[in-house]
Amino acid sequence: MWVIIYYIFCYLIFGYTMLLMASYMYLVIMSHKAQARLGINIPDDETIKYFLQGSPLTPAVSIIAPAFNEEVTILDNVYSLMQIDYPDYEIIIVNDASTDRTMELLINEFKLVEVPYDIAMRVQSKPIKRVLKSTEEKYSKLVVVDKEHGGKKADGSNAGINVCSNKYFVCTDVDCIIEPMALYRMMWLVVNSHRPMIGVSATMLMSNGCIVEDGRVVEAAVPDTLIPMFQQMEYLRSFLISKLGWSSINALPNISGGFGLFDTDVAVKSGGYDPTSMAEDVDMLLRMVTYMKNTGQEFRLAQVPKICCWTEGPGSVKSIYRQRVRWARGLFEIISNHRKLFFNPHYGPIGAFTLPYIFIFEFIAPILEMTGFFFMVWLILIGGVNWDTAIILFGMIYVFSVFMAFFVLYFDYSAKAVNWHNTRVSYLKLLMVTLLEPFLYHPIITYCSIVGYWRFISNQTAVWKPIQRQGVKKKKS
């Protein structure tokens, strides 16, 4: 009896692995197809700029950046946001009742004064105390919202949505370094879409290791330390294969909170961000999709295959542990809150494919991996391992992961997704971390996921602790 159970379990795991690899291959093919199509449809940045800058029909965008106790970097960050190249945009900085000098610095630097504002509380947020604008013409794009403390980025973003006056808004973190052409790259997808575009996801990478000058990344490089290096590869894989692949069948599951563009009207009608959620970005997107599907409207979600934003990632095991536990908890929450969408073709390819994929291969995988690990230990102890078979199976998975890394780099090179300062060195570093990833990084992530799930099940209070920033390399101009 036990032998039969043992065989069934082993073959189930084997089948699961093969299915997972097949789905990765599917995403590889889809992203390749999407890239080939976008290669034709997306011209170079200068052409996009020439086209959009000269037209009065180019849609306006609001950039919303919530800030809490950012006195060290706030001015640099606002200046960096002002350097974005786009004909019509406003910057909304939402001060979430900072206890340091954030507000004071903003007021003094940009000569801000309180203005009456047409605030309709379209989405739920803590009350807005005042809205400030600059008295100087050169800062006319800047709007600062001073609100009561909400404690979550989602609350700040909602306050920004209440103030924003444009058809599209971009949500970002105040410490993100945005590529000057990012808005053009995103809006190009919007103006080219035959269906109303409700969200555009931007490619984001780690700024750790990059050289920054006057709020811009001037030398893109792979981080020097191991943890951010692993994440760099992970982000490249996620944005260039996974998200691009899903976007090609209009099934993008997530638009990152770090830098994503949304249709204001649809976001408002879907209720905006949920401040109680641990995965507010996925949550809002799924509510937007639900709203569009329930009201019978067509929509499109897209992924930009070029770098748009740089963010500083966790640099230590402790920081990444915190971040990934939160993400795992968020994933569990999404599965629990949006369960009616899963395996439901009424919600289009997202309900029929993406969410089932997330459930089977992202949510269950850590549980299976952990079970498999203990099972293997038990088998070793009782001497039940067929080592030849084990090595061949492990070899297959390992070679497949190297293949995925190669594909990402090939994709990056052919699509010119990132303009690396030294392509050869960067690629070598990334290949090197790929070889180490299954042994060093993946077990940590699996452990974090299990802890996150446990915290969700045991209903432990979620505490949001900001990641410890180490700062990026700066070059003096």
């Binding site: 073959y11 084997f14 093969m18 690899m21 290669g39 034709i40 449809n41 011209p43 170079d44 200068e46 052409t47 700029k49 020439y50 086209f51 000269g54 037209s55 009065p56 029909l57 180019t58 849609p59 306006a60 004064v113 203005v115 009456p116 504002y117 047409d118 309709a120 604008k133 008295t135 919007v190 103006v191 080219n192 879409s193 035959h194 109303p196 078979t389 061949i392 199976l393 070899g395 297959m396 070679v399 497949f400 190297v402 293949f403 190669f406 594909f407 780099l409 090939y410 090179y413 052919s414």
Partner: protein
């Protein structure tokens, strides 16, 4: 012939070896369980793909290097000349010889092939195009640029690219032709109009709008835009219509096109274009749409705006009737239109719009419209301000602040409207 037979020989050899080793491998793994067979097959496939991608990376890198080499050579040779052509010094009309002298081309070479091959031509036009679009030079003399491109054989090259090469090349070449405003043979455009690629078809169509006579615009009388219609189409159409208008050709009846579309999005696009091109004479043709398509709120908004911008006062009674039954967003568009008429008939409707709703956005917009509704409206506005309740006071504060005063004009598009002319003139 010899090359072909050598190729065949090696091809057969590879197939023979491949078949032998495949059978050998199948023989070895014949007795193994299926999971081992699958694992080995996947591993071998991944290794082959890794090797292929490695070679592809090398190939791409070599190709890029070659392109860079040609680019650097042409940049060194003609870069300064290109800069000169886009500078203030090249404003006066220049002859072919003068331009040739600027680029260091010998007199004997004029009329001959200056650039050796297609790669050089492609690189040359790319370098000049990038300069042209990034600098957006106001000084550039268009005729000089056309002469320069003819000197280097670029128009013929682009026409060949458009008619012979892949979709990507077709699109790129067509964009360059449009940017440099080069003349294209009608047969090329006709060929592209029947292309299987939608994008190519549309680019050809836009060029056709610019160049063709009035009777050649029949393709709009189909549901072409019903299938696919995006903001870019609107931008391109606006650009083409603008060029047509500046060339002194008659503009088509856009209201008729709007009536022919079934899709709300494309209907809205044509209605918007109507107001951008001041087609007041065709506004009456939208009445039927306004009366029958009452559930298409975006369309009703666009028609209301268009009537307002173009002062089609015959539509005012329809707008007044629709004001109280339409949803909030549409109400705002109608109120703005009534404000633009400023005939006095719509003031009561605006007042009702203010009092009969709890939506703060609509209330604010109604006030904004009254504020902009000439003397009559301003008087009403002041009355309301005097009697305003405490919770409504914030609306009125907005109108009295020097920083926000810029926002109290009518909606943003008002500013865009006349600038269609100026933007495309550049």
């Amino acid at each position: 012939m010899r090359t072909v037979s050598i190729f065949k020989y090696y091809f057969n050899l590879i197939i023979a070896y491949g078949t032998y080793y495949l059978e050998y491998a199948i023989g070895i793994f014949a007795d193994y369980p299926p999971e081992i067979k699958v694992a080995v097959s996947v591993t071998v496939m991944c290794i082959v793909l890794i090797i292929v991608m490695g070679f592809a990376l090398l190939f791409l890198s070599r190709k890029n290097k070659k392109i860079m080499k040609v680019q650097n050579r042409l940049e060194e040779k003609y870069g300064k000349g290109m800069d000169f052509m886009l500078s203030a010094d090249a404003q006066k009309l220049m002859s072919k010889q003068e331009i040739a002298a600027v680029f260091g081309v010998e007199k004997d070479a004029i009329g001959k092939e200056i650039l050796k091959n297609n790669r050089e031509k492609q690189t040359f036009v790319h370098l000049f195009y990038m300069r042209f679009i990034t600098e957006r030079s106001d000084y550039a003399n268009r005729e000089n640029i056309t002469t320069l491109l003819y000197l280097f054989g670029i128009p013929e090259f682009l026409e060949k690219e458009v008619s012979l090469r892949s979709m990507k090349h077709k699109v790129e070449a067509m964009s360059k032709i449009r940017t440099f405003k080069l003349p294209v043979s009608p047969w090329v455009i006709n060929k592209l109009l029947s292309s299987k690629y939608l994008r190519v078809q549309r680019l050809a169509m836009y060029s056709n709008i610019m160049l063709s006579s009035d009777s050649d615009l029949d393709y709009f009388e189909t549901d072409f835009f019903d299938k696919h219609c995006c903001i870019k189409d609107e931008i391109e159409l606006a650009y083409s219509l603008q060029r047509r208008r500046r060339a002194g050709r008659k503009l088509p009846n856009l209201a008729r096109w709007a009536n022919l579309q079934k899709n709300e999005r494309s209907q809205c696009m044509f209605v918007r274009l109507m107001r951008r091109f001041d087609e007041l004479e065709y506004c009456s043709e939208l009445t039927e749409l306004y009366k029958t398509q009452t559930r298409r709120k975006k369309l009703i908004e666009e028609i209301s705006r268009t009537w307002g911008y173009l002062h089609y006062t015959e539509g005012e009674p329809l707008l007044i009737d629709a004001l109280l039954i339409q949803p909030d967003d549409t109400k705002v568009a109608i109120m703005h239109a009534l404000t633009r008429f400023a005939t006095g008939n719509g003031l009561d409707a605006l007042l009702e719009g203010y009092t009969n709703t709890t939506n703060p956005h609509v209330r604010f917009e109604a006030l904004r419209c009254m504020y902009n509704y000439g003397d009559l409206g301003r008087t009403k506005f002041l009355e309301l301000e005097r009697d305003a309740r405490e919770e409504d006071r914030k609306f009125f504060d907005f109108f009295n602040n020097p920083i926000t005063i810029e926002k109290i004009g009518l909606d943003k598009e008002q500013a865009y409207h006349p600038s269609v002319e100026t933007v495309y003139n550049a």
